[in-house]
Amino acid sequence: MSDPQLTSVNAASLAGDNIFKVFGPKPARALEMAVAGVSRDDILRETGNTVAVRDVSFDVVPGETFVVMGLSGSGKSTLIRCIAQLVELTQGSVSLNGRDLTAMSEKELRDVRRNNMSMVFQHFGLFPHRRVIDNVAYGLEVQGIDRAARHKRALEILDIVGLGGWGDHYPQELSGGMQQRVGLGRALAVEPDVLFFDEPFSALDPLIRRDMQNELLRLQADMGRTIVFITHDFDEAIKLGDRIAIMKDGEFDQVGTAHELLSNPATDYVREFTEDVSRTKVLTAGHVARAEKSGDPMATIIVGAEQPIDTILGTLLSTDEPVAVRGTNGELIGVVDRSAVIELVGGT
């Protein structure tokens, strides 16, 4: 599990500045209207243009998993394709480690793609005419790495993503979950600094999806890459994301940690999303811990601050005593007790 080549942290920072993307016949006019704040429907009716992304800015720090979540048609795919430069931005810029991607020549961009970023696609985007091993090795192949070296690397990667022994098969002989493992392996093989995921697991059935999420968490724990992850599933967003951006009609309504979104929704739209979410999954012991004024309590039971409430529910309910919450360095943060949890589950 701890392949040395995956653990070498080489994450990058990624930033977007006032990104606009307009599809349609007269983008200039539509862009003007979008900047002026005319609504998406009105612009479509008047000019026939779709404003898919509108004035989006963000900063992703190295090693962070940044999740963009929104309903179908909200512009998530368009945004990630703008970031990856697969479509041309109508306005705005994207920079990777401070280098402006939008200003690059075709060749420079190609080099960045070869060395610094890669992507996992919703419908896998695998090459059906290549064996699994050659799918995984594709990024290395276009870089001109010789066959023996790239196959060696691809075999290592196949082991890492749990597909050892499947190299000689063709993708269509694999199940959906396995195919996306190939997609993941293909993206990891080039050791990118930034990984883009466009709803990679939404074509999979729920059990496999959960497996894949866990797999990604495991890999990310090892490799600590910068990740931009698109999803329409809030549970997935909470599970994987360090920060979550809620996207609506091409705009970010709010960006923040799961806790921030839940406890402080900026708009009704965000509130609607968060309403159905089980708080015990999102909030950690640290979030609900009440500071204990009377020094170190004599609590015999101790939990970590980063543990979600639902994982310590049994512990809390099995005792009448307050439970101590400690941080990663063992320092005392506070205590939680039954009443806090009951308030949380029943409450606002």
Partner: protein, 630 residues
């Protein structure tokens, strides 16, 4: 609700049409045929050019620097392929065919074409067949080498595709032998112009399907490739082309079949091979040998069809591994070396089956004993239809009347555009002096179309209603469709010798296949609900057929008739080979005498007739199509 657009002819307008026609007839009754005012305007410069190129062939840099070297190169390639195929032991070709087909279709299926390939050897036609095979290999290779890049270009550039497409469409309505003349001009006579005519004729499917295949590659795969930093070229060669390969191969297999159709016809250009063998034996009345040669062409068609289908399967996960293929390759090389070492290369003479004489005798017997039938049919077609109609059109009715009627009908059916188009095409044909020959051709075409429709529509209706009939006919029709058009004149000549009738009969044989196919399709496509509704109201079977099925299938059947007409027109020149087809006959003699000017006029007239009939019948089919609601 679905309702037919009501456009009942207004009787007043038709009465006017007739009145004008009568008026024109009276006014022009004694006039000559169409004044061919431009008779020499186009043909003379073309003749001059023809004469010029003959003298310029040795001096002008266009020829010495381009066409002659190109011609030499292709000639050399043809010679090389042919001598290699004759140099290796004869069984290597069937073995190679077996390997290619068995690779994707299993060894049982692979045995069929391999066995069929032996047939030409058995009847003593091995070398002639190899001749034709070499021509096929070179033509198809050139067509693919040109067509794939062109298709790729079209896929990458919409503007290019938009300008290529109408050219490809036009190339498919032009009867194949029309390509012979320009080739004749550029390359003289022989196998090289035949090769290029074949390349041009067979090019459209591979171009079309390459463009289609590349367009059909899922954008996700292309994006993924781009995302990994692949250059455009890397994406094309590593992702787009390989993923489009099955579609491209389908195009290649269509190209192969089209190429075969024209390669045997290319005998007109002196290309030799099986086509020439057929023509010679038929003109020498060696029917048995002609028949056996026709079967050799059919054999090649089967082999090539199977090869094409086998190539079009490219699902790699189901193919045998590299080791098996390497083993097969080694086996073939081994067989070759063994054959060469032991001197077994030529097809063993002793195996030859003498089937010609029995066939000759059989044919003579059939001809003698069926004379009452063939004679009767011949008279019916010639004396009761062809001669009176032709004379009516060319002698009795004055040409302005025909112009008027043609234009008027075009207007009623297809509006002003069709009327203007038909009128200008007719005038052009008249002006270049092809008026009477065109009407003569038209009469024969109409006869063939009437006969074809009379056979194809009832059979098609039967097949459309009865799945068992359809299942039985399916493979037969499949097989018939792969047979090159030239072969169809063999049975026609056997029964009707030469003249107008064998041409018509061959055209009918060739054209009924699509007619049956499309009619059956139309009948089968009639929604079950409509039929059930009619039955619910107590309609008899007959009423259901006449009142519901046929009207609902009418647009599709009309499309089938359009196809029949186009196929009959494609046979005009082949009819010319046996003395029929008027324009076809003129085309054949023009090519034989290298008479370029006339050849072009004839070619233009045939294309003009084809385009008028095509657009008119397509417009009729459109008008029959039901339109939803008001």
């Amino acid at each position: 609700m679905i309702e037919r657009v009501s456009r009942a002819p207004k009787w007043g307008i038709w009465a006017l049409c007739v009145a004008v026609a009568v008026g024109l007839q009276v006014a022009f009754a004694s006039s000559e045929s169409f004044p061919a005012g431009l008779d020499h305007t186009f043909s003379d410069p073309i003749d001059d050019f023809g004469r010029w190129q003959q003298s310029a062939r040795r001096t002008n840099v266009l020829f010495t620097g381009f066409f002659t070297p190109l011609s030499d190169m292709v000639g050399w390639a043809l010679d090389t392929v042919e001598s290699v195929l004759l140099w290796v032991p004869w069984y290597v070709l069937p073995a190679a065919i077996f390997v290619v087909v068995a690779r994707t279709k299993g060894w049982v299926v692979g045995l069929i074409p391999a066995a069929v390939m032996v047939y030409p050897g058995l009847v003593g036609l091995w070398e002639v067949t190899i001749d034709t095979f070499a021509l096929m290999i070179i033509s198809v290779s050139i067509a693919v080498a040109l067509g794939v890049p062109l298709g790729v270009w079209g896929a990458l550039n919409t503007r290019v595709e938009k300008s290529i497409r109408p050219v490809l469409d036009a190339m498919q309505t032009v009867p194949a032998p029309v390509y012979f003349l320009p080739m004749l001009m550029l390359f003289g006579i022989g196998r090289v112009p035949a090769t290029f005519a074949t390349v041009i004729y067979a090019l459209p499917p591979v171009v079309r399907l390459t463009t289609l295949g590349i367009r059909e590659v899922p954008p996700a795969a292309v994006e993924a490739s781009e995302m990994f930093g692949a250059t455009k070229r890397q994406t094309m060669t590593r992702v787009q082309l390989p993923m489009a390969l099955p579609t491209i191969m389908t195009g290649v297999s269509q190209t192969i079949m089209m190429a075969l159709g024209i390669v045997v016809l290319a005998t007109l250009l002196g290309a030799g091979g099986l086509g020439q063998e057929i023509m010679e034996t038929l003109s020498q009345r060696r029917t048995g040998r002609g028949f056996a040669t026709g079967l050799a062409v059919v054999a090649i068609a089967i082999v090539l069809d199977r090869l094409g289908r086998a190539l079009a399967v490219t699902d790699r996960s189901k193919l045998p591994g590299r080791k098996v293929m390497a083993g097969a390759a080694v086996a073939i090389v081994g067989l070759t070396v063994f054959g060469l070492a032991s001197g077994i290369t030529e097809f063993p003479e002793v195996w030859s089956v003498k089937i010609f004489d029995p066939i000759d005798n059989g044919v003579v017997w059939i001809r003698d004993n069926l004379r009452w039938l063939t004679r009767g049919f011949n008279d019916l077609v010639v004396a009761d239809f062809y001669v009176p109609v032709r004379d009516l059109l060319t002698e009795t009715i004055a040409w302005p009347v025909l112009l008027w009627i043609g234009t008027f009908v075009g207007w009623r059916i297809g509006g002003v555009r069709l009327a203007v188009f038909s009128l200008s095409m007719m005038v052009a044909v008249g002006l270049i002096g092809m008026w009477n020959q065109s009407l003569d051709t038209l009469t024969q075409v109409v006869a063939a179309v009437i006969l074809s429709v009379a056979i194809a529509v009832p059979v098609g209706v039967w097949a459309g209603r009865n799945p068992r009939v359809e299942a039985f006919l399916g493979p037969i029709l499949d097989a018939l469709q792969t047979i090159p058009s030239l072969v169809y004149i063999i049975p026609a000549v056997i029964f009707f010798t030469v003249g107008v009738v064998p041409g018509i009969v061959a055209s009918v044989l060739y054209a009924i296949v699509p007619g049956i196919r499309i009619t059956a399709l139309g009948i089968r496509e009639v929604p079950a609900e409509s039929i059930e509704a009619a039955q619910l109201f107590g309609a008899t079977r007959r009423q259901t057929m006449l009142g519901v099925r046929l009207p609902l299938a009418a647009p599709t059947i009309m499309a089938g008739i359009n196809q029949v007409i186009m196929m009959v027109l494609a046979m005009v020149i082949i009819s010319g080979l046996v003395g029929g087809g008027a324009l076809g006959f003129a085309a054949v003699s023009a090519v034989k005498r290298s008479d370029l000017g006339i050849g072009f006029e004839v070619g233009f007239a045939i294309v003009a007739i084809a385009m008028i009939l095509d657009r008119t019948t397509a417009a009729v089919a459109d008008r029959l199509r039901p339109v939803a609601g008001h």
